[in-house]
């Protein structure tokens, strides 16, 4: 990450929902940066806080009982300090969002064109006719055949893939600097998913937009993201460049995600290693490391530390850009000796050669103390 000010900088974001039973800390102290043209992947299970965080960036919690604190700086403006009206003017213009289920995300009673135009008209002083021309242009751009005709169709007349394309057209019509895609392909078939992911990448190049892609599918992350943020129980548990995280994960939860999904090339006799137990309650998160009740490696940490003390999000041995929230002293060794040989024995060597900067081959690992020091500096 460069020293130049990023497009989006989220610092210590907290989204808390007061309920009758207590406060649900859906997101609890989340920080990340994102530059234009880059993609951040946020991965986690349902209830990990990944969708809540992105809604907070759009200010969708305004007017509800949710308590949002911290900083969300977009284009040098802290979105949490501006008025509702100012926030509204940024929605769809500076930051747009596409959702998981394009069928329910579009209003069933209005034509696709109408809904796309609406997004344009609200931020641009143009005639309806111009807006429609623009909408057709965008539909064409996202690969809808015969856009001048389909613009008058209703969402139910579109296929799932086309609906998601139309949603993307709607999101990008104002050329926003930031696009948040919340599980954009989960409801789609694999071939359609591939089409959509390709489209997003093409468009990102064209518009130089920053993208936050939220998903539970590490495969999507692997294809799309420059940086990865792994969330668990409302907190980031591992954060770093995509390739680095996928080849040298240092947090047992990330290991769990990697080892619990089969892939189409792996060893078929290998057994999946599931993460035991259930995701934690956000009302009463576990003490210490929130993952410790499900962690199979907590015995490797002395003094019951995992249970009593929450680890900080700090760099490990792999350099300052790769941070994780874990007490394990030498996670790399555990991963390469205990986990990877189980799930992908053929990849152990290849993975081991990947350097923190993404290059392959011999390189001097950064000393952990230096990395820690650098991280400290960054904090200040």
């Amino acid at each position: 990450m460069t020293s130049q000010a990023p497009l989006l900088s989220v610092k210590d974001l907290k989204v808390h929902f007061p309920t009758q039973d207590g406060i649900v800390k859906a997101t609890d102290g989340l920080s990340f940066d994102l530059e234009s043209g880059k993609t951040l992947g946020i991965v986690g299970e349902s209830g990990s806080g990944k969708s809540v965080s992105s809604s907070a960036i759009l200010g969708l919690h305004r007017g509800t009982s949710a308590k949002v604190s911290g900083e969300i700086v977009l284009n040098d403006t802290d979105l949490l300090t501006i008025s509702d009206e100012q926030m509204r003017r940024r929605r769809g213009k500076n930051v747009a969002m596409i959702f998981q289920d394009p069928l329910s995300a579009m209003h069933p009673y209005y034509t696709v064109g109408n809904q796309i135009m609406e997004a344009y008209l609200v931020h641009n002083k143009v005639s309806k006719r111009e807006a429609k021309t623009r909408a057709i242009e965008m539909l064409d751009r996202v690969g809808i055949p015969q856009p001048d005709r389909r613009v008058n169709d209703y969402p139910h007349q579109f296929s799932g893939g086309m609906r998601q394309r139309a949603m993307i057209a709607m999101g990008l019509i104002n050329n926003p600097g930031l696009l948040i895609a919340d599980e954009p392909t989960t409801a789609l078939d694999v071939t359609v998913q591939a089409q959509i992911l390709d489209l997003l990448q093409d468009l990102q190049r064209e518009f130089n937009a920053a993208i936050i892609i939220i998903t539970h599918d590490l495969g999507v992350i692997a294809e799309m993201a420059d940086d990865v943020l792994v969330m668990y129980a409302g907190r980031a548990v591992e954060y770093g460049p995509c390739k680095e995280i996928l080849t040298h994960p240092e947090m047992p939860y990330t290991w769990g995600l990697l080892s619990s999904v089969p892939d189409v090339t792996g060893d078929t006799d290998a057994r999946l290693i599931p993460i035991p137990g259930l995701p934690p309650s956000l009302l009463n998160p576990p003490s210490g490391c929130a993952f410790h009740p499900r962690c199979t490696h907590k015995d490797k940490v002395k003094g019951n530390l995992c249970k009593t003390e929450m680890p900080e999000l700090l760099p490990g041995n792999r350099g300052p850009e790769h941070t994780k929230r874990c007490h394990l002293a030498d996670p790399e060794q555990i991963y390469f000796t205990e986990i990877l040989p189980e799930i992908a024995p053929d990849l152990v060597e290849e993975f081991a050669e990947v350097n923190p900067d993404g290059s392959v081959g011999d390189a001097e690992p950064v000393r952990s103390s230096d990395a820690a020091a650098e991280a400290e500096e960054k904090k200040i």
Binding site: G161, A194, L197, R271, L272, P276, L278
Partner: protein
């Protein structure tokens, strides 16, 4: 549809019936065990009504159109494909939630396709289903004990007072606390509910489990738990599986043999090594290339993606000839005229494509032409005679056609 396709369709259906005797005698699994389920030319057409004063049937949604396969005893067949390909309908036909339009469903050698609900009753014990959505498939007003125990009472399997101990035993088997039998489904998480669904399916000790997307509604970390559970159960109770899913990786992980469906038909079926490593059908290839692969992608080893254009056509009016041809990068004239037969091209490998071949190695001339008695453009060739064995049958024969070398012929 051209006239020609019609004749060819009816012709294949007819000869399928003729050869069924032969097919039934074939062996199923590589381990030499008999097939517990053999499906032959299974069809399910949902009528489409006209909008006139009298509602005539003007067409059919050909949800499943001539599907044949075997499920080996104690084995697992995977059924993959995109939404609308007919895989779930196939599952429902086998559990006889639907009455098939045609074809045979041989379960342990007995055709259950046309059985009356009354005669089906004892068979329902043997064939059970696990559903996709653990939230809607359990009655929220019944306790878990009642849900799991209901089949026992309906089929009068054990005396009433023994139902509870059996229910608790089952809950323990699927990894739930047996003391929770009197709780309601909403007190459980999604994964736990799917376990309840599995327990219910296991209650009657079925021989065949049809699992329709059993893990796709679950969180990733929970998916693995359920997949592992199903694998354990299969081993422990010797249950055969028809495993239906859209997730190619999960199917590959679970099933030694996998069939790929497209628009109501099986386009390719093979053992998993062959299917995933050496797919010959352009659709299978496209499907596989679209699956993101974490580990490969991480080291930059991403495969070239085969882009499919457009959407799946309507099953009411499927394309003539090969149904995939409208989206196929290889399609030629013959594809519109002739439906490619599901041809056995390897020991345990069948594919339905005129231009079957591995990626980048597809032949330029149709490999099926001579076999079907037609020329390379798909027109009838008066000089050639169609091979009567080139019709779809369940299971695999001892002889197959070699397309590798670009020529046809039997190989021992």
């Amino acid at each position: 549809m051209t006239d020609q396709t019609v004749t060819s369709d009816s012709g294949s259906a007819k000869s399928a019936e003729q050869s069924s005797e032969f097919a039934a005698s074939r062996l199923a699994g590589g381990d030499g065990r008999d097939a517990i389920l053999e499906v032959e030319n299974l069809r399910m057409y949902f009528p489409v009504k006209s909008s006139g004063v009298i509602r005539r049937t003007v067409g059919h949604v050909q949800a499943v159109d001539g599907v044949s396969f075997q499920v080996p005893a104690g084995g697992a067949l995977g059924l993959v494909g995109e939404s609308g390909c007919g895989k779930s309908t196939t599952g429902r036909l086998i559990t006889r939630l639907y009455q098939p339009t045609g074809g045979k469903i041989m379960f342990e050698g007995k055709d259950i396709a046309g059985l009356s609900p009354k005669k089906l009753m004892p068979l329902r014990r043997d064939i059970q289903m696990i559903f996709q959505d653990p939230y809607t498939s359990l009655n929220p007003r019944h306790t878990v004990g009642a849900i799991v125990g209901a089949p026992l009472l309906i089929h009068n399997v054990v005396p009433k007072k023994k139902v509870l101990p059996r229910v608790q035993e089952l809950l323990e088997v699927v990894g739930l606390n047996p003391e929770h039998y009197n709780r309601y489904p909403n007190e459980f998480s999604g994964g736990q509910r799917q376990r309840i669904g599995i327990a219910r399916a296991l209650t009657l000790q079925p021989k065949l489990l049809v699992a329709d997307e059993p893990v796709s509604a679950l969180d990733v970390s929970i998916q693995a738990q359920v997949v592992n559970l199903l694998q354990d159960l299969q081993r422990e109770f010797d249950i055969s599986f028809l495993f239906i899913a859209h997730d190619l990786a999960v199917v590959r992980h679970f099933c030694p043999e996998v069939a790929v469906m497209y628009l109501g038909k099986i386009v390719e079926i093979a053992d998993r090594e062959t299917l995933y490593n050496h797919p010959q059908h352009p659709y299978t290839q496209a499907l596989l290339s679209a699956v993101p692969d974490v580990k490969q992608a991480a080291i930059g080893g991403r495969r070239e993606r085969i882009r499919l254009e457009g959407d799946v056509p309507s099953p009411i009016n499927p394309p003539s000839g090969c149904r995939f041809r409208t989206r196929c990068p290889l399609a030629q004239e013959i594809c519109a005229k002739q439906e490619p037969p599901l041809l056995q091209i390897g020991e345990r490998h069948k594919v339905a494509c005129h231009f079957a071949g591995e990626i980048g190695q597809h032949p330029t001339k149709p490999v099926t032409a001579r076999l079907l008695g037609i020329d390379d453009q798909g027109n009838p060739d008066p000089g050639a005679t169609p091979d009567p064995n080139a019709v779809e049958q369940p299971g695999f024969a001892d002889t197959w056609y070699d397309v590798q070398g670009g020529h046809l012929g039997a190989k021992a």
